[in-house]
């Protein structure tokens, strides 16, 4: 099995789960936050929807320097926009991954701020850490935000209180 095939094994399942959570994001309270120090709901949702862009970046660039990189701002427009952006980016991420050879994925991808090195690991490892697991992390936070707003929470790895397990 190639490294790309290994990484693709749970790609579609996780992206489908993320899409269900994004589709449940309400439009009328992008400024909601559960705590003063927390990210607002709209920003968190856009962050989740656009994290595949980081996956694409890892797969198609040699590294990212935060001192010079420009990155789109995380401004919430609508739930439809979230889903459109997510669908486009996740499809591009999937293609970029499928097109990556083992040698491509062994490439050491550098994440820096000017001279300071934040990480320098293989693309495969960085793809999982900076994009995939990072997305799962923020998606879970988004689920808690939905719960705290009394919105139904889609079940992810198992049942949720709103989608109980019924054999």
């Amino acid at each position: 099995m190639t490294t790309a095939e290994i990484l693709l094994e749970d790609f579609d399942m996780e992206m489908a789960m993320t899409r269900r959570i994004l589709a449940a994001v309400p439009e009328d309270r992008p400024d909601y936050k559960p705590h003063e120090k927390s990210m607002p709901l709209g920003r968190l949702a856009v962050h989740v929807a656009t994290l595949p862009r980081l996956g694409i970046n890892v797969l198609t660039s040699s590294g990212l320097d935060l001192a010079t990189a420009t990155w789109p701002t995380l401004t919430f427009a609508s739930t439809e926009q979230l889903l459109t952006d997510f669908d486009t980016l996740s499809s591009q991420a999937r293609t970029a991954l499928a097109n990556s050879s083992d040698a491509d994925l062994e490439h050491i991808w550098r994440f820096t701020v000017g001279d300071r090195v934040l990480s320098a690991n293989t693309r495969s490892c960085t793809f999982r850490h900076m994009f995939f697991s990072h997305m799962i992390h923020h998606r879970a936070q988004l689920g808690v935000y939905l719960r705290l707003n009394n919105l139904p929470v889609p079940g992810v790895y198992g049942p949720s209180a709103d989608e109980p397990f019924t054999p």
Partner: protein, 169 residues
């Protein structure tokens, strides 16, 4: 013929990294708030912290058990949170077992079919690798993130995970 270990060589460092992040979050769980829940429908802090601590045991469930039948008697005995220190000790032991299990698993075994069932009802079917990914690793990341929100709501400083938190740059 010697066994090849492409999968475990690939997965073990990532598992170790996730375990290190998880350990810091579990160590930050305070005693004395076991019944805290952010919403009526949410898990309590004690249950959620215990669940995060027990999730590494899904490594051996997905990589060594033939399948997992939730309808079987005693199929799942939840780990019970008593104190943060006791919970962390349980996690350490299960996490060490999980790393050992991953390292001992051959590529051939990672490719075997595995399913999560409730009697005749199939909940998940895939390779052991995809089951391990979903049920042990990504599932851990998922509940650990929820635990981070609980810490935030309790006014406990939140350790950083994939990037800085408001309390750790």
């Amino acid at each position: 013929m010697s066994e090849s270990h492409t999968f475990s060589a690939f997965l073990a460092p990532e598992l170790e990294s996730e375990i290190a992040i998880t350990r810091r979050i579990l160590a930050a769980v305070p005693d004395g708030h076991n019944d805290f829940k952010p919403h009526d429908k949410s898990m309590t802090l004690a249950r959620l912290a215990a669940h995060v601590a027990e999730l590494p045991s899904f490594a051996s469930v997905t990589l060594t058990n033939p399948n997992f039948d939730l309808a079987a008697p005693n199929s799942y005995k939840p780990h019970v949170f008593e104190t943060s220190a006791q919970n962390l000790a349980a996690f350490d032991s299960l996490a060490a077992d999980a790393i050992a299990t991953v390292n001992a698993t051959s590529d051939e075994k990672f490719g075997e079919p595995w399913s999560l069932v409730y009697g005749d009802y199939e909940i998940f079917k895939g390779t052991r690798h995809s089951a391990f990914r979903a049920m042990a690793m990504s599932h851990l990341v998922h509940h650990r993130a929820q635990l981070g929100v609980y810490l935030r709501l309790l006014g406990v400083p939140v350790p950083k995970t994939y990037g800085p938190s408001a309390d750790e740059q």
